[in-house]
């Protein structure tokens, strides 16, 4: 056997060597220049108002600079804007810094923002980030309910140019945390060159092949689909912090394991998420170059309100107490996740640890007693299911959760695999039997209401389980209309306390992002959005 193996290897090696040999050197880097390569997946779009998934957003954040940045406490601070002010939380005035230009030399003016936002909100463009503009006055006129009729207006009535460097945004309703929202990719400006028909909000389809922004890096060549997006330092960048590396090359990968192999082989500088299967050996492989950062992702287990078996809060509480969150995290996630015992992520202002209290503490005796007192196995039809999407690698922890319910509550529990997440959602929307189901949430911008609103308010965009509590909605509304974002927080916290009582979902975990980098770079930090902080990247001194 051994001999045979060696024989086969020898037989194959010569041609390989000859062929690699004839193609010449492997290094394409220019001497003295540091182009940092970062692994991403193929972006769906490179138009700011359409890039809601992380790959496109990663690239756009090299090419553009946000109106606001966030400090260590996730509070917004102006970046490309000089100031963002309001008197009543409804009409906001954005004043831009002067002296900024796009990569093509066009000055960045208030029109650049107004044009970009109008295009993002324009229904017929069907941009992914369209829902970000719902808060701006006039949104409804650009978005007819039926996709085939023409919109009533072409421009948002809520956007008004004051002068070259300032504009006014009017919202439908007062919202004290609008400033926080502006740190999202959807609110980038677009140069005049991006439009093929400005009056009708039409963006040139070729624009996204080589987007022109006002950020620290500019495109070098065009988007090489499925392979590479190269950028180089923009010398006229007007931001306060200048980049310390010469460029960023986004290498496009189909799978994460390959990114990791490339990192080990020295072909890639930053892997922003180390795949679960490599976590075991990563510490040995990378040593100090293995890093962790907090993320906004939370995982929850939802009880559909249309399933009468789970209508009693006591039953939900018993199930929650029968789940040993810590055990699952330590054995399955190898510390890359942490137990969540609140209804929002720890990274947002207003988060309080352990709001869920006793209900999220593992206590099998109490759980069993509470379960039996409320009808026991009979009440849930002697069997519960947990639905999940098989394309997301969720099977191991769903099975583990089921095992715990089986052991601690004495009921039968089975996973209910759905081929895709979209199918799970369709079934939930049609109120088809699913059992409990898993759900994850990544924030759009760091604010507590960005968890509470979409997940738990009546008709919230990700409230697929149909939870509805007027008291909760009222507190949320109070929070929205409070004079400042800080003053809103007590209302949001009261709203969260209602969730503790009602337990519409069970908080399970929040993600810790594990990433790694090569020896060529240092100061590799990830932001709350899971993106490499490109302005902090530095060449490593050997």
């Amino acid at each position: 056997m051994k001999n045979g193996l060696r024989l086969a290897c020898y037989a194959l090696i010569p041609i390989a060597l000859v062929l690699t040999g004839c193609s010449g050197g492997t290094s394409e880097a220019e001497p003295g220049k540091l182009i940092v390569s970062i692994g991403i997946g193929e972006p769906q779009s490179l138009i700011p108002s359409s890039a809601t998934e992380s790959n496109g957003a990663d690239v756009l954040n090299a090419l553009f600079t946000d109106l606001v940045d966030y400090d260590d406490n996730a509070q917004p601070i102006p970046l490309a804007a000089e100031s963002i002010t309001t008197a009543d939380n409804r009409v906001w005035t954005v004043k831009l810094r002067s002296g900024w230009t796009f990569h093509n030399g066009e000055p960045v003016t208030s029109d650049a923002y107004i044009n970009a936002w109008n295009a993002g909100a324009w229904g017929p463009n069907a941009h992914n980030a369209n829902y970000f503009f719902t808060k701006i006055a006039g949104y409804a006129d650009l978005n007819p309910a039926d996709g085939r009729s023409a919109p009533k207006a072409k421009k948002l009535s809520g956007l008004k140019r004051i002068d070259d460097l300032s504009f006014e945004v009017t919202l439908n309703e007062p919202y004290n945390n609008f400033k926080s929202m502006l740190g999202y990719t959807a609110f980038f400006p677009l140069p005049r060159a991006a439009f093929s028909d400005l009056d009708n909000n039409v963006i040139d389809p070729q624009f996204q092949e080589a987007p022109i922004g006002q950020g620290p890096f500019k495109m070098k060549g065009v988007w090489q689909h499925d392979q590479l997006i190269e950028t180089e330092r923009f010398e006229n960048y007007a931001g306060p912090v200048k980049p310390k590396v010469d460029g960023i090359a986004f290498k496009i990968y189909q799978t994460q394991p390959t990114q990791y192999q490339d990192l080990l082989a020295g072909q890639l500088d930053v892997v922003t998420q180390i795949p679960l299967e490599s976590l075991g050996g990563a510490a040995a492989d990378l040593g100090e170059r293995l890093k962790k950062s907090p993320t906004s992702t939370i995982q929850i287990l939802a009880f559909p309100t249309f399933d009468p078996r789970f209508s009693k809060p006591e039953i939900r509480r018993a199930i929650s107490m029968a789940i040993d969150r810590d055990e699952i995290i330590n054995t399955l996630f190898l510390g890359s996740q942490k137990s969540l015992r609140s209804f929002v992520s720890p990274i947002v202002p207003g988060y309080r640890a352990n709001t869920c209290g006793e209900a999220c503490q593992f206590n099998p005796q109490k759980a069993k007693a509470l379960f039996e007192a409320n009808g026991g196995a009979k009440a849930v039809g002697s069997r519960v299911e947990i639905a999940y999407n098989v394309d997301g690698g969720h099977k191991p922890w769903i099975d583990a959760t089921c095992n715990q319910l089986r052991a601690n509550l004495g009921i039968e529990c089975v996973g209910n695999p759905q081929p895709k997440f979209s199918e799970l959602l369709t079934k939930a929307r049609k109120k088809e039997p699913l059992g409990m189901f898993r759900l994850g949430w990544i924030f759009d911008y760091p604010a507590i209401e960005n968890y509470l609103g979409p997940l738990y308010s009546t008709g919230g965009s990700s409230n697929y389980y149909g939870y509805s509590n007027p008291e909760f909605d009222a507190l949320l509304a109070k929070g929205f209309s409070a004079p400042t974002a800080e003053e809103a927080i007590p209302y949001y916290q009261q709203a969260e306390d209602i969730l503790v009582r009602d337990l519409p979902v069970l908080p399970l975990r929040f993600a810790e992002n594990v990433y790694g980098h090569s020896t060529r770079v240092k100061n590799v930090e990830l932001t709350l959005f899971n993106r490499v902080n490109l302005l902090k990247l530095e060449p490593a001194t050997p």
Partner: protein, 308 residues
């Protein structure tokens, strides 16, 4: 002969239409909510959903959707993927890579599989025959993704002989390691098949006659034995080329080659009917073409086979 070719080409056209219809129907039946699949775990605004539904005709019945697709195809417009890229562009970039990969894999299969098989067959029961039998059994029993990951780790990461992922600046060399992985399974089968075929033919009457006539051994093997042994191998290789193209999906994923496999996988994941149907239809066409080529080669190898 030409009549035969024309008949086969006409059959190919019919097969093409039949296949697109079936694949489109299958995609249509599994497509649940492509727009949500596209949005991932994020919510979709009502306005965006309405717009995209209208744009991609998602709310129309199957026949109408298929009609739109066919109309586009016949007027030279393959349409756009659900992420908005022209399908023609996607394919023009992806196909050459997959074809290069499959062709190199095929070359490896032919060179090592057939030569190895002949060698093993001529010295039946020898050391080479025994070890290659054991080795091919191991290869046949190993899933491609295991083989791919192990080769990538050993030869690219540990030894550094290759790059772990696709590097276009290396030219054709970047396909070598993936092609070896992709070809190994077929190589093992081709080797076993050639060996058996050679062993069988060595015992045939015409070989005994040739020997009796006093022909040199070299000529007996290269002309009589080899020519007759290659017919079953050729059949296998013909079907295998198509299998290599579609089997490239896993290998392309491991080595990050932006070929057809990755696009097909993405298309299926996003429930992107037109993209999947176009790729699969082209796969079918190549498959048909290669098999036609194999049938014609039969006639060359064996004059008794005539295509009248």
């Amino acid at each position: 002969m030409s009549q035969y070719i024309i008949r086969r080409l006409l059959q190919a056209v019919l097969t093409f239409f039949g296949a697109t219809l079936i694949v489109y129907a299958l995609m249509f039946s599994i497509a649940d909510d492509p727009l949500q699949a596209l949005a991932g775990e994020r919510p979709l605004s009502a306005s965006q959903r309405a717009q995209l539904t209208a744009q991609y005709h998602l709310d129309e019945p199957f026949v109408v959707q298929y009609g739109y697709y066919m109309k586009g195809l016949l007027t030279g417009d393959m349409g756009r993927t659900i992420t908005g890229r022209p399908i023609a562009d996607v394919l023009a970039e992806a196909w050459p890579r997959t074809i290069q990969l499959a062709a190199i894999a095929m070359a490896i299969v032919i060179v090592f599989g057939v030569i190895g098989g002949v060698f093993a067959g001529l010295r039946r029961g020898g050391v080479f025959d025994q070890t290659s039998l054991a080795l091919t059994l191991v290869v046949i029993g190993t899933p491609v993704f295991v083989l791919g990951t192990v080769f990538q780790t050993v030869f690219a990461v540990e030894l550094g002989w290759f790059r772990p992922s696709f590097a276009p600046e290396l030219g054709i060399a970047t396909y070598i390691l993936p092609a070896i992985v992709l070809g190994l399974l077929s190589l093992a089968t081709a080797m076993r098949l050639t060996r058996t075929s050679v062993v069988e033919n060595l015992r045939a009457d015409y070989v005994r006659t040739a020997n009796a006539k006093g022909l040199p051994w070299r000529r007996v093997v290269s002309v009589h034995v080899l020519r007759n042994s290659l017919i079953p191998v050729l059949t296998f290789l013909g079907t295998e080329f198509g299998a290599l193209m579609s089997g490239a999906m896993v290998t392309e994923g491991i080595f990050n080659i932006p070929g057809v496999g990755g696009r097909l996988f993405q298309g299926i994941r996003l429930e992107d009917g037109p993209l999947v149907v176009t790729i699969v239809s082209l796969l079918i066409l190549i498959y048909l073409f290669v098999n036609l080529l194999v049938d014609l080669l039969y006639a060359v190898l064996d004059p008794r086979i005539r295509h009248e």
